[in-house]
């Protein structure tokens, strides 16, 4: 009789320990184990949509990092007396927030596509007429974009709006440094390197397409 009581207690203890282990395992998997990192996209081919012959000489590169933040608050301030609003209080009244860190590059240079330049020469001099330097590329990509904070539901168009704003900020930041002038100087230097001549080289940036 005594043995059977001990046996029942042992079985009960084993069962309780088993249940505790199972609960621990479930809690770990639900809250701490993240399988998202392991998600791999399927192997799909790329398709070429267009091929264009260009002639762009980039002479200045501006690299920057911008932070884009958008936040939406609850209309009413939370009250500590209303338990339904405690979560609101916990979130500092923030309803949703999306913050991106975007690293990008702005390239300045000359667009010489379709022979958009003129060269004339005589016995003493060479005249090269080039177009004004301009922004050739604003480079952004997912590998240089970080989703720093995401709270609440945000649509793709919300995110696109933030990324477009980041791109514009990159351009605005680049313009502060008046890089067209630097691009002009660098272009002159590059053409002097490419044209090895005893003649006088005159470069101007007033070629009209």
């Amino acid at each position: 009789m005594m043995i059977s009581k001990d046996l029942i207690r042992l079985i009960k203890n084993i069962l309780v320990i088993g249940v505790l282990i199972a609960i621990g395992f479930l809690v770990y998997h639900f809250f701490f184990s993240s399988t998202e990192d392991e998600l791999k996209i399927d192997d799909t081919p790329i398709h070429i949509e267009s091929i264009r012959t260009i002639a762009e000489i980039s002479t200045v590169s501006y690299q920057d990092e911008v932070v884009m933040d958008t936040v939406e608050f609850y209309k009413n301030a939370p009250s500590i007396y209303r338990p339904t609003e405690w979560l609101q209080l916990y979130d500092r009244n923030v309803k949703r927030r999306l913050t991106l860190i975007v690293k990008g590059e702005v390239k300045y240079g000359l667009d010489l596509t379709n022979s958009n330049f003129d060269i004339k020469s005589n016995n003493d001099s060479i005249w090269i007429k080039l177009p004004e330097p301009t922004i050739l590329d604003v480079i952004v990509s997912p590998s240089k974009t970080e989703v720093f904070q995401e709270q609440g539901r945000w649509s793709d168009s919300d995110r696109k709006r933030l990324e477009a704003k980041a791109k514009n900020t990159l351009i605005t930041n680049a313009r502060i440094f008046k890089l067209e002038e630097k691009a002009r100087i660098n272009s002159e230097r590059l053409f002097l390197k490419l044209i090895q001549t005893d003649k006088t080289l005159i470069i101007s940036f007033d070629h009209e397409r």
Binding site: H29, I51, I54, T99, I119, D137
Partner: protein
């Protein structure tokens, strides 16, 4: 009174736990002098496909997503790498050794990224932007790898040769010889 005091302390505890993420103050910029001649531009598309099946017994439901994305890739030569001695002139003949053709620009703008299909069933969470960005990064890496298997490098080289030939001929040279240099391990 006791109830009010309890609510007050719980609220203090709850709000104290929220370590608000501070936005990083970024002021990192770099201005570099470059000299890249881009001569070909490929626009490539890719469908990013992911089927996240519930492979664990405690998960219920599936998640699927299809994202259509485009990348603009340019190739050409880095003219700043031309050294003294790479250009030689003999009468009306010019010989120029240009650096190897490479990818000069890779851009994957969000303007050309569209989620075509997103399906979530059961008790699964919807895809977050953090997750979508991870899939896009994988897609970008795949495009960067696969683009090298197209003719972009060959086209870049041929177009660079055509551009330089035209340029030097306009300057009065009758014969333009262009040689392709080898990769320099910097």
């Amino acid at each position: 009174m006791k109830k009010l005091t309890f609510i007050f302390f719980v609220s203090i505890l709850l709000s104290g736990c929220n370590e608000e993420n501070k936005l990083p103050e970024v002021e990192v910029y770099e201005i570099r002098n470059i000299g890249e001649l881009s001569t070909t531009e490929y626009t490539v598309g890719k469908i990013i496909k992911l089927d996240d099946k519930a492979d664990e017994w405690y998960k219920y439901g599936d998640r699927k997503i299809l994202i259509n994305c485009k990348a603009k890739v340019k190739a050409g030569v880095d003219l700043s790498l031309i050294k003294e001695g790479d250009i030689t002139v003999s009468g009306t003949t010019i010989t120029i050794t240009i650096p190897p053709t490479e990818i000069t620009s890779f851009s994957m703008d969000s303007k050309h990224i569209h989620t075509e299909m997103e399906s979530v069933s059961g008790f699964r969470d919807a895809f977050t932007h953090l997750e979508k960005n991870k899939f896009l990064k994988q897609g970008e890496a795949a495009i960067r790898e696969e683009i090298l298997h197209t003719d972009i490098i060959k086209d870049g080289r041929l177009n660079a040769e055509a551009f330089l030939t035209d340029f030097y001929k306009q300057m009065g040279f009758e014969k333009v010889i262009i040689k392709q240099g080898e990769h320099d391990d910097k």
